[in-house]
């Protein structure tokens, strides 16, 4: 959800020195013309980032515009194929699809050309608008921001995209393991969460209670929660198995909350499997929430004793970051970005099996003080490293660095 906060609102969370640092760096970019281009104004992680990043850059007196690609269904079908192929799916793009991709980029370039050619910095998000660069004269720095895990792409598709992306001055990946070798500097900027968004802002305990009551969740007994789509890679059935192993010793409740699966045939099948595994256990709460139920998710996470994200495959895993921000220890699958966030005995436990999850859930329930300490530590790690303030500082640093010629140490 869009954060309506301004920079000063974050002072109470990250301290004045951090906000002042951002203003200092931004001062060196004052008036710079910046354009962000992506493929949608609403929905999806990229639009969510731009919803706060663009106003915040404006507040810092950068001249920022956000342009959105205009496409047709065939184009979006093609770029969805690119997306899946970058994530490793063995899927090829047809000549008709490629033609659509190239034509849509060309027509959008004609529309956006004055803006793009006049900009000091052009940020192109993901593969959809990547080919705009082929149709513009570069005046400023062009940066390709890849939000996708491209660690193991389908080679034919990557080879096609690589020859486009190599024309950029730099690229940005979320983690080193997601990056592919390219001919230009590849920056690493990890995702972040907005502590003032509806999903993460502090909420009154009465509201938490009210949400738990609404779903008939007993506040007096331990609550285990996994927030995620009903997707096999999130292993909801494995979570139920872990819950059942814990249930022999503790009167726990399990909340599995995710988006509705009506438009996703596989999601519906997984939901069915989950219901079957739950076997009408009244202490397993399977909640299908609308996409804008941010505050409900916030309350569920805050009302929980342990947050679970037992994924078998994961990108960065922002639900883990959200859980840690709410001072909860996290039981996470030993995969992807979860490995960066969940550190055994520090912020939670990494697990590979339902048995492992059950073991460490019991450990946390039986070591209440340690659990509280780990939760507190997780929140501090997030405060220091994974709030949007850090992300904007890195964007600004990158921009100054590119302008100053990419020296290792830039003094301004």
């Amino acid at each position: 959800m869009k954060s309506m906060a301004n920079l000063n609102d974050y002072i109470s969370i990250v301290g004045e020195s951090n906000i002042s640092a951002i203003r200092q760096v931004a001062h060196h970019l004052k008036g710079s013309k910046v354009v962000h281009v992506n493929s949608t104004r609403k929905g999806g992680g990229v639009a969510e980032i731009l919803e706060w990043l663009v106003p915040m850059m404006k507040e810092l007196e950068l001249d920022v515009e956000w342009a959105v690609l205009e496409g047709v269904p065939l184009f979006f079908e093609t770029t969805k194929t690119f997306h899946n192929a970058l994530q490793g799916k063995r899927i090829d793009v047809t000549p008709t699809q490629l033609k659509s991709y190239e034509e849509i980029n060309k027509s959008n370039a004609a529309r956006l050309k004055p803006m793009l050619e006049d900009a000091d910095f052009v940020f192109i998000h993901d593969p959809q608008p990547a080919m705009l660069i082929n149709h513009c004269k570069k005046k400023g720095h062009w940066i390709w921001r890849c939000h996708i895990d491209a660690s193991n792409p389908h080679r034919p598709v990557w080879k096609y995209l690589r020859q486009i992306v190599n024309r950029y001055d730099a690229s940005i990946f979320s983690m080193a393991r997601y990056a592919q070798p390219l001919d230009h500097p590849q920056f690493l900027i990890a995702p972040s969460i907005d502590p003032l968004s509806q999903k993460n802002v502090d909420i009154p305990s009465a509201e938490i209670s009210s949400v738990l009551d609404r779903f008939s969740i007993d506040r007096a007994r331990p609550i285990l929660t996994q927030i995620s789509r009903f997707d096999r890679f999130k292993d909801p059935v494995g979570v139920i198995k872990a819950y059942k192993l814990v249930k022999r010793y503790h009167s726990v409740q399990l909340v599995l909350a995710g988006g509705t699966a009506d438009d996703d045939p596989e999601g519906s099948a997984v939901l069915e499997e989950v219901r079957e595994a739950a076997d009408n256990d009244p202490d397993i709460h399977i909640l299908q929430l609308p996409p804008d139920a941010h505050r409900t998710i916030n309350a569920l996470q805050r009302g929980s004793d342990v947050i679970i994200q037992k994924s078998l495959r994961e990108g960065f895993g922002l639900t883990v970051t959200e859980g840690l921000w709410k001072s909860k220890p996290v039981i996470g699958g030993d995969v992807g970005g979860i490995k960066l966030q969940v550190v055994n005995f520090h912020t939670g436990f990494l697990v590979n099996t339902p048995e492992g999850a059950a073991h460490w859930i019991r450990y946390l329930l039986e070591h209440g003080q340690k659990s509280i300490r780990m939760g507190g530590k997780g929140r501090e790690f997030v405060r220091e490293n994974y709030l949007l303030i850090r992300q904007i500082r890195e964007y600004l640093t990158l921009m100054v660095g590119l302008r100053e010629g990419m020296n290792k140490l830039v003094a301004v």
Binding site: S17, Q24, R177, P185, F187, L188, T347, Y386
Partner: protein, 217 residues
């Protein structure tokens, strides 16, 4: 008397386009990588986002211990103070020699599980003036309390490799402008080579300076 100008620094990571899957590849990548990458994994690691609170102060030791499960090499790597070397090339030569010596005693080369490679990175660091100054040593505690971790890193850690070497900026300022026996100097010296993450280091600095100031009253 010269005022202390508080600076800050911001870092953004970059890939160094090398990765190691086993100990031999680690050695080869250390041989081939840019000096900036060695510096990053030994020194700038403190400024990089992390959820870990590692026992060892550099990334090579942490990976060797946690992923390669070789505590002996991890201990040898972990004890290295990078600032004691003339430059990163001297440190690189020392590292290669150490890993070669260690591998010569091994029957099998330790490997990382897939997905747990060591990714060589580097960083671009931006140093900027905060516009804030300190004019009186008695204000050092309050100034540190208000400093970002970037400032702590720049003045207390990164300063070690600037002239005068192996001295933090606060100590250099106190010695030059006040006294070579200023009571804060031993406090700062005790913490200079600690393995602490920056937030803990900041707290330790504040606590030690506060205690020292109270004793002096």
């Amino acid at each position: 008397m010269k005022e202390f100008n508080i600076k800050d620094c911001a870092l953004v990571g970059l890939t160094a386009k090398l990765q190691a899957q086993n100990m031999r590849e680690l050695r080869d990548c250390i041989y081939r990588c840019e000096a900036a990458s060695i510096y990053h994994h030994f020194c700038e690691t403190l400024l990089r986002p992390t959820f870990d609170d590692p026992v060892y102060g550099n990334d090579f030791a942490v990976w060797t211990a946690n992923v390669l499960n070789d505590p002996i090499l991890a201990e040898k790597l972990g004890v290295i103070n990078p600032y004691e070397y003339k430059n990163m090339e001297e440190l690189r030569a020392f590292l290669i020699d150490m890993i070669d010596d260690h591998m010569s005693d091994l029957q099998f080369i330790p490997w990382a599980r897939p997905g747990n490679q060591f990714f060589f990175n580097k960083a671009m660091t931006l140093v900027f003036d905060t516009g804030r100054t300190i004019s009186d040593p008695d204000h050092l505690y309050k100034a540190i309390k208000e400093m970002s971790l970037g400032s702590i890193y720049y003045h207390f850690i990164e300063a070690n490799r600037r002239e005068p070497k192996l001295v933090d900026d606060f100590s250099a300022w106190l010695m030059k402008n006040f006294s070579e026996n200023h009571p804060f100097l031993p406090v700062l010296s005790n913490l200079r080579n600690s393995y602490m993450p920056l937030l803990d280091l900041k707290r330790a600095l504040m606590s030690s300076l506060h205690t020292q100031a109270s004793e002096g009253e």
